[in-house]
Amino acid sequence: MIVPVETVLALSAILFGIGAFGFLARRNIILMVVSVEIMLNAVNLSLAGFSAQLEDPRGQILALLVIAVAAAEVAVGLGLMIAMNRNRPGAHVADLTDLKW
C-alpha cells in the first residue's frame, strides 16, 4: 500500500464531514442530494482502503454494490424532484410545508 490505511480513512472522514455539512446546511434540494453522493463516495473510499489494506477484493465488491444503490437512489430522487417541481416550482426545501402542522 502506498499510504497507510489511516490516511485513507482520515480523508474519507473529512469528505464525509463535508458531505454532512452540505446536506444539513444547503437549502436547494438537488444540492442536498448531491451532498449525499459526496458522503457515499467517502464511504466507498474507506471501503477501497480497507480492501487494499486487508488484500481482500470483498471491499471493492461492497463498494460496487454501494454505487449501484446510489444510482438507484438518484433515479428515484430526481424523479421525485421533477414531480414535486410540477406542483410547486422551485427547489427550496423550506417551501415544502404541506406535511407540517
Binding site: 489511516e6 469528505l15 455539512f21 444539513l24 477501497a48 487494499a52 486487508l54 470483498r58 444510482a71 430526481l78
Partner: protein
Amino acid sequence: MTAAEATFYYMAAAGVASALLAVTRKNPVHSMLWVLALFMHIAGIFLLLGAEFLAAVQVIVYAGAILIFYLFVLMLLDLPDEEAGPRFSTHWPLAAAVGMSFAALAWLARVQGTGAAELARSERSAGLPAVGPAQGSVAEIGVALFGPFALPFEIAGIVLLAAIIGSVVVARKQQAGA
C-alpha cells in the same frame, strides 16, 4: 516521499478542496462541476489503492451517468432566482459543527490507527489463509461477482430495475381522474 505518495496527497488535497467548493458555491451548476472534479480525484485515489475496476466504474457511472443526470434535472427545473436567496439555512453553524466532528474523527484515525494492519498480520500468523490473492485484478473482481457474490449482484440488478420503473411512475404526468 515517493512519487506515488505525492500523487496521493495531491489527489486528497484537491478532492477535499473541490468538495468544499461544491457545498459552498452559490450557482448549482458550478457546484455540480466541482463535484465532477471531486469524483475524478476519487477515481485517481482508487487507482492508487489498486482498485482499477472501481476507478473505471467511478468515472463511467458516477462522473459519466449520475452527474450528467443531475445536470439535466438541474437545467430542466430552471431555477432563475437560485442565486438571489441565501444559500445556507439559518442553522448552518450547527451543520458546520457536525462536519467538524467528522474531521475530528479523521484526526483520531490518524493518531490511534485502526489496528487493521495488526489484525491482518495476526490472521496470517494464525495460519488463516489470505482471503484474496492478486489485489486489484479485474478478473478477480469478476470471478468473485459471478461466484460467491452472484446473489447480491443479481439483487443489485433488481434494485436498479425497480428504481427505473419507480422513477418513471413517479415522474410521469398524472392523467386527469386516474
